[in-house]
Symmetry: C2
Subunit: 165 residues, 2 copies
Amino acid sequence: MTTEELLARSVLNSWKLVIGRVDQLAASLSDEQLQQEVAPGRNRPIYLIGHLTVTHDLLFPLLRLGERLHPELDNAYLTNPDQTVPDPISSSALKKAWNEVNAKLTAAFESLTPAQWLERHNAVSEEDFAKEPLRNRLAVLMSRTNHASSHAGQILLALPSARNS
Amino acid sequence: MTTEELLARSVLNSWKLVIGRVDQLAASLSDEQLQQEVAPGRNRPIYLIGHLTVTHDLLFPLLRLGERLHPELDNAYLTNPDQTVPDPISSSALKKAWNEVNAKLTAAFESLTPAQWLERHNAVSEEDFAKEPLRNRLAVLMSRTNHASSHAGQILLALPSARNS
């Protein structure tokens, strides 16, 4: 592999590790724990998994990688706060949607060359991108990886004895 | 900038954004909020900031970037769980240590070339690294960035009205 390929591959690997961590958390939590607020008055793990599913689904148009898979989840998990809209699907159906979105995304990511990672994302204009070349697809990937890590840290609090984790 | 340089620069930018987010959280929390567990029975924000300071300080030897600045914090914030050892320094002194460590680290990061980012980190042997080239300095940087994001997500819970954040 060239230096460019190794750099891009390392970033993609970081995404995969974080997705794997959320997968593991989602699998570890009972249905009851998924419904329990991570701290008093805060989001439930199931809401956070729905929220991550939607934000990842939105990467298809943002990164020009195809059509979204689950826009029907936006109302419950993006547009509205937790516990204001009934969960539209079961926990197991939501976990299936989470896996589908990430599998299709990751497959699309694998096909991008280093130069394609450095192309602009769709929320920045050609003009602005010419001045700010760091507003590229790779920056979006890392931003979403950090976003998923942040919520994974919160979901972890729903598990017993997670002190210092 | 070359493709290599832009890729490495994008990753470093992601680190800086996350450090900035933790800086902002640390500045937003009152001394009382810093001492308040992020959820019942969980870590206090001050412990998490101490823990991040220590794990970042450990990057100096791990990435061959010089000497550690604050090994005296290990006992309170790495070796032992929260609330088992008295805080060794004041909140403001700890925030100062956090800033010092990240400033010195980030300056060292800025000086690395893309090829140097792909060199092995110090916890992997030459032999293992030959087989697993993704165990490089860049992977450590992203792992620590995700780790900081994860704890930032928890620290956020100590702020009022952080629902859906």
